[in-house]
Amino acid sequence: MESIIPSEFQQVDGAYHSSNVQNVDRLAAIRQEMEYLNAIGKRFVAAIDRFQVHRALLAALQDLYHFTACSILLKGEPFELSIIPCYPLSEAFLEAMMQSIASAASVIDFPQLAVEELARTAYLDAPDELSTVPQTDKEGGGKIGSFLNIPLTVESRIIGMLSLFDERSEAFDTEHLKLTTMIADYAAVALENVRLRERETALWRQAEAERQRLALIIGSMAEGLLITDLRGMITLLNHSARHLMAQAQVELKQDVPLRILAQTSKVEWLSLLVEIVERALKGETVTNQELIAGERGEMVPLTLSISAAPLYDASQPGSRPTGMVAVLNDITSSKQIEKLKDEFVSIVSHELRTPLTAIKGYTQHLMRRIERRLRKLRAEQIERSTSGLATEPPENTDLRNLSIVESQAEHLERLVNDLLDLSRVQWGKLDLHYTTFFLADVLIECIHSAQVGADNHTIELDIQTKDTKIVADALRIGQVVGNVLDNAIKYSPHGGEVIVRLSEHEGHYLVSIIDQGIGISPEYLDHIFERFYRVRNKASRQFAGIGLGLYVTKAIVERHGGSIWVANNAEAGSTFSFTLPKTPHV
């Protein structure tokens, strides 16, 4: 076997200084070796897949030796074995190769490899152009005459093994062993690069597939999606968002910050949208902000519900938002339904009120007549000196029945009044009739009234301020206190103390109503003032109501310029508190 590579400089080491001729020869040898390594290095660097690495490897090895076949075994799960024959191999030779590979692999710390497994997974890679030796009628014999197994190492890490096989004995020599190891090192780096590139490509494909999937989801979302960068510049606007904007006759441009767009636009609601976006860009999560995007004059204008949240860089936890994402929902149709429902409730409440007044009036009239008749009967019995009534007169039963009718009619009236108030609040027609009065008087009156039907409760008044004069709607304030007191009694089924406390804080009165009842589960606290909202748990199921009292209460307090809130007490029950300005805000 001839080699184009001269012997290495180890052999001429001692003679380096002996003569100029030797120096010249040595330099020429080094130069030739460098040129050779440079040439094969270029082949490996140019290889972009493992087949090209195989070709580069085969070409480099065939410059050194003539051999039957080589193989590359790569570590991994699963391992990979490529066999590169120089001419067709017999089954016996292949089997002998597998056995040699398995034995050598065990020496350099490969996981245990079975010959059958190697044979099953082996990939035969024999590009035609690499079979440089024209031995078409030759088939490799059954016996391995010589072999060489060189570990493939990258940065002191063994990634695989290069094996060379030949039918002849002594086909490989020590002289070229170092160079073969160098070639194996080149191949190892090239194969590692290919592996990294394959991994990169796989990850890129995966990311691209994810991106496409996400784009598909965003594109087919019924909700509008708007994403901006930190400057408020739109970076993504999905189809639904474009459609909504087109309906509102607004064209959002991707290269203009929303704030600039709002400043130059005549569309009023854009500034509200900018406000929501800027809140989200400051790190706040905004939920279900309603925004009227249609013409005000329309019966039900286009109404959007917008929720926005800041976007953070996942790689930098705790950093400032890098943008924000907003979801836009068209809630016009639900507003339309709500409006129809409000109209219905308003009409029905008005229509109910008239017959209810009649029922109440006639009931009271009948009750008075029966009472008169009963008084007359009692007087007649006294005149006849009859000792006591032998039988109860039927008028007594009538009177009891009528008082039930009256009580139920009053209950119905309260419900109708709540519904009417709801309509007034909905339509913004909750008018207040301001007068000057003492808040303490209203509280005392409400407490007396509530105490009548609450034998198990003790209602205490705790006034912590000297002056209680206020300019407000006395009737409505009475309604507020009455509603909260009713709740305090209703949700304290075992009785107890209810404290009504009045104090003064910076131009406001603070009224707190503290009970010892069942309290409110924390998850309901945020919703308790919503209309038709009823706490749904075992403890509160027994209590009647339609969930309007607190809604109307809140509306009245806020209409006065105050605020109302609720909190659970540390021990038991809850405290409803509301503020009222001493004089109305202008």
């Binding site: 180890q10 034995s103 050598a104 065990s106 020496v107 350099i108 710390d109 010589s146 072999f147 060489l148 197994n149 060189i150 570990p151 190492t153 002191s156 890490r157 063994i158 490989f172 020599d173 020590t174 062993l177 170092k178 190891t181 090192d185």
Partner: protein
């Protein structure tokens, strides 16, 4: 058969260990130029792993490269091992290393190095 078995009872464990570490260093010196440092180390580690069942004290060579083994490590790791056991285990390790080297390169480099190592061990005066 240990190359120093005739004298193993009269030499200390440290002497035996150092003699074999020298032998391993000689293998390292001879093999590394051909196959690289990583391969030589894996050869020794692999040999120690295969023999650890029979000679448990060789276990420390699986985790620690033999180039880092110093007398204090020998004292610590080989306490309780008799000189005879130690010599037998280290001898088996050398033979396993050469068997591994033969699996990789056949008779290309193993026989001359093997001879050289045996010569070195035999030349030591115990």
């Amino acid at each position: 058969m240990s190359h120093i078995s005739d004298h193993s009872s009269s030499v200390s464990r440290t002497q035996i260990a150092e003699a074999y570490l020298q032998a391993l260093r000689l293998i390292d010196d001879r093999v590394t130029p051909f196959l690289g440092k990583a391969t030589t180390r894996v050869l020794v580690q692999g040999a120690a792993r295969r023999l650890a069942g029979t000679y448990p004290f060789l276990h420390f060579l699986i985790k620690m490269p033999y180039t880092e083994v110093v007398p204090s490590v020998i004292q610590e790791q080989l306490s309780g091992v008799t000189s005879t056991e130690l010599a037998a285990g280290l001898d088996a390790l050398l033979e396993e290393c050469f068997a591994g080297l033969k699996e990789l390169t056949g008779d290309l480099i193993a026989p001359p190095i093997h001879e050289e190592v045996i010569r070195q061990l035999e030349q030591l005066h115990w």
